[in-house]
């Protein structure tokens, strides 16, 4: 095997990380309200210092608290040990002083609010949503050997959206956890719709042939969208909320959302990335995969479940955002080739970059008006896709 068809080389990895990080910085620095670059950086630096300092203080308090306990309980212990404990205490309080001098005041004011409370969490969420959707799309396309496969064509997104709409319409909430109602329902319904689609597909075609799944997915999406209309009719008083929600918005994304996304991305994304080699086998053909010893059904099941987890969380946080999962893997494939060990991580970065740029456009183009992000992704995505497709076809 040539090095080109192997896994990601270190340099390539560095390049992808660097590009993603550069785009991330760009998106944090540009926004509806323009803030000078130096101010942006200093606000972020102060924020990081403040939170690191607080974290350090908390750690020291816990450590010194246990230290004091140890001292208190050391009455019967010989003097030597207690002296050691005391000296540790001194070291700790010394460290405390150093930290206190380094500790920045909590950044305040308009710029800090905009950068730290509004823009940064939003860009983080957008980046991870893009990464998750693109990864899910890439995995689907490889698994089903179908260039049109995506969370939306499979019906998982619609299922997740149905769950979230039910949560909004009937007020499913969990006390103390904002957004949890829609999120849990979205993930649950993503899983349920997946189980339904798979069961149906198994009944019709035991080997889970690709066409069967896609067909059932499309039919399921239509069925779900009419169910959603019925719910909207019943919950007429919340029609406004539901309408706004289905248009999708990453406005109001918080650090908690980002944390949830990160967790899901590490868990589900990690599981998918570990299956890259098996996906390569699938790309040649299901029979081929079976013949070289891949547990076809098991791998399919794992990947489909991980994908529904990713999509459920994304949908509950940002609504249904189309085109990212479909287009990004195609674009990325033209850059790094079809090997899933390269394609999947590249999709991860590519999706993040694509959605961050789309969101940047949505936020700034019609200032102070904000466009729905789905509009931008479809518009840009479709054009980019056609251009790339056209060029590559002409060349070959």
């Amino acid at each position: 095997m040539r090095s080109r068809s192997g896994r990601f080389s270190f340099i390539e990895f560095v390049i992808f990380v660097a590009v993603t990080f550069a785009v991330f910085c760009l998106c944090v620095c540009i926004g509806s309200v323009s803030i000078p670059l130096t101010d942006t950086l200093s606000v972020i630096w102060d924020g990081v210092r403040y939170h690191l300092g607080r974290l350090g203080m908390a750690v020291i308090q816990v450590v010194s608290g246990s230290g004091a306990e140890a001292v208190g309980g050391a009455g019967t212990v010989p003097g030597g040990v207690s002296a050691t404990v005391e000296s540790t205490g001194a070291v700790i309080s010394g460290g405390n002083g150093v930290l206190a001098s380094w500790l920045a005041a909590k950044p305040e004011g308009l710029q800090a609010s905009i950068i730290l409370s509004v823009r940064l969490p939003r860009v983080l969420c957008v980046a991870m949503t893009g990464a998750a959707l693109a990864l899910a799309g890439g995995a689907m396309q490889g698994l089903l050997k179908n260039p049109l496969a995506d969370g939306s064509t499979l019906g998982v997104s619609s299922g997740a959206a149905l769950g979230a709409v039910i949560a909004i319409a009937f007020g499913v909430r969990f006390p103390g956890l904002p957004f949890a109602g829609t999120m849990v329902m979205a993930i649950l319904f993503a899983f349920l719709s997946l189980v339904l689609i798979l069961t149906l597909a198994y009944r019709l075609d035991y080997s889970l042939a690709t066409n069967t799944i896609i067909l059932i997915g499309v039919i399921f999406s239509m069925f779900v969208s009419s169910l959603m209309n019925i719910i909207v009719t019943f919950a007429a008083d919340r029609i406004q909320h539901i309408t706004f929600w289905t248009m999708g918005s990453l406005q109001g994304a918080s650090y908690q959302n980002a944390l949830v996304l990160l967790g899901v991305l590490m868990l589900c994304g990690g599981m998918i990335l570990r299956r890259a080699q098996e996906l390569n086998a699938f790309a040649i053909g299901e029979d081929n995969a079976r013949h070289i010893g891949v547990d076809v059904r098991r791998v399919k099941l794992v990947i489909l479940i991980m994908v529904s987890g990713l999509i459920g969380v994304c949908v509950s946080i940002g609504g249904s955002i189309g085109f990212v999962g479909l287009v990004t893997p195609h674009i990325v494939r033209m850059l790094v080739g079809p090997n899933h060990r390269r394609l999947l991580p590249a999709s991860l970065f590519g999706g993040a970059v694509f959605l961050m740029l789309a969101d940047l456009a949505a936020r700034t183009l019609l200032n102070p008006i904000e466009l729905p992000i789905g509009v931008v992704t479809s518009l840009v995505g479709a054009v980019v896709f056609v251009v790339i497709f056209y060029r590559s076809r002409r060349r070959s």
């Binding site: 926004g31 509806s32 309200v33 305040e108 004011g109 308009l110 609010s113 905009i114 730290l116 409370s117 509004v118 823009r119 969490p121 007020g171 909430r173 904002p178 957004f179 007429a236 008083d237 919340r238 406004q240 909320h241 706004f244 929600w245 248009m247 918005s249 406005q251 109001g252 918080s254 936020r363 200032n367 102070p368 008006i369 904000e370 466009l371 729905p372």
Partner: protein, 371 residues
């Protein structure tokens, strides 16, 4: 063999047509079935004629009913105690009325309408405000004010407008707005013999026009004039008492952060009322309603926030939710807790209650003591 197949197919198609025609919601199913049976015997064209005949018969009945209803109504009006001679006369205006509706179409009624369907909430509100609520025989599904309107049969409106459902109520007059209904719907209803009048108020002056127009149609010119004068008086009073010079700003929140911020910009009723109060809408550069950037709200730092988010009784109230938003703690309105939650659509519907909404906003900005 082939012929039989063809015949079977034709019969199946005809049967399903008949079924579809009878499956509607007109309620006069027996007549329809009879008509359909005749239609099956003859051609499609004759079916149409039959249908037209049925409609005509129904229309004749309606006229007879209307005459009765009319006499009752005028009896009631003359019996109404405490009303001055003039106002009872206002209720008895009869003879032909001619108006120009808000799409510029000239409309003549033989006499003031007594059976009305109104699809838009604001038109229902106007009808009740001028004392013609009892003429409503149907309302759009989103009409919810005043409470009495909920007892009137609801029909679907907007994109789901069901023409059959409306025809079954046998209205003489249907009032709808240009914004949420289409011209095709108006044409269809008019082809079916229902007079359609279109209201299209874009500003407070437009609301006066709509009230005056509906008043004329109902033969209640004077009540309409009273409602308008009352609104004008309240607005004038508020405008006079307002001391603001436009230095304070207000942010109108139509959709909360969770679903993406929406605001009411220039040329909305909220904007117009804000100007009246001498308070500046901080998104006056946005035309109409629009999705806006959260960063911009923080930057524009409004002194007051008015939200129209509904509260469903669980989770934080809309005010609490705004007060708790990350990064909003430096906004003046949040610091001062100057947040008003207006939940009854007073300032979003082109109806007489705009005056109530304006008064509430005045009380909120200048304090109730100022009254």
């Amino acid at each position: 063999m082939k012929n039989r197949k063809f015949l079977t197919a034709v019969i199946a198609v005809m049967l399903s047509c008949a079924l579809a025609a009878c499956g509607g919601q007109t309620g006069t199913q027996q007549t329809t079935i009879a008509a359909a049976a005749e239609a099956a015997a003859e051609t499609a064209a004759s079916a149409q004629i039959t249908a037209e005949e049925v409609t005509k018969a129904a229309a004749e009945e309606t006229v007879a009913e209307n005459a009765e209803a009319k006499t009752e109504a005028s009896e009631e009006a003359s019996e109404a105690g405490g009303a001055s001679a003039e106002s009872s006369a206002a209720g008895e205006v009869s003879g032909p009325v001619t108006i120009t509706d808000m799409l510029g179409r000239e409309i003549t009624l033989e006499q003031p309408a007594t059976r009305v369907v109104a699809l838009t909430p604001s038109d229902c509100e106007i009808l009740f405000a001028i004392g013609a609520g009892d003429t409503l025989v149907g309302r759009g599904e989103y009409c919810d004010y005043p409470a009495a309107v909920l007892d009137i049969p609801a029909v679907q409106s907007g994109a789901e407008t069901n023409i059959e459902e409306i025809l079954a109520l046998e209205p003489q007059l249907l009032i709808m707005s240009a914004m949420s209904q289409t011209e095709e719907q108006a044409a269809q209803l008019e082809a079916a013999g229902v007079q359609v009048v279109i209201s299209d108020a874009q500003d407070i002056a437009g609301v006066y026009t709509a009230i005056e127009m509906i008043g004329k149609l109902m033969g209640r010119d004077e009540s309409a004039a009273e409602v308008i004068d009352n609104m004008k008086a309240i607005f004038a009073e508020i405008e006079e008492k307002s001391t603001g010079d436009g230095s304070k700003t207000i942010y109108f929140e139509v959709s909360p952060l969770e679903y993406g911020l929406y605001t009411a910009g220039a040329h909305t009723f909220m904007d117009e009322v804000a100007n009246m109060l001498g308070v500046k809408n901080c998104f006056a550069d946005v035309e109409g309603w629009g999705a806006i950037s959260e960063e911009q709200v923080l930057k524009r730092n409004p002194d007051y926030i008015m939200t129209i988010t509904m509260y469903y009784g669980e989770g934080p109230t809309p005010e609490e939710e705004i007060l708790g938003r990350a990064g909003w703690e430096n906004v003046t309105a949040v610091k001062n807790k100057a947040i008003l939650n207006l939940v009854d659509n007073e300032l979003s519907r082109p109806a007489p209650r705009l005056a109530d909404g304006a008064r509430k906003l005045y009380d909120f900005v200048y304090g109730e003591d100022a009254e």
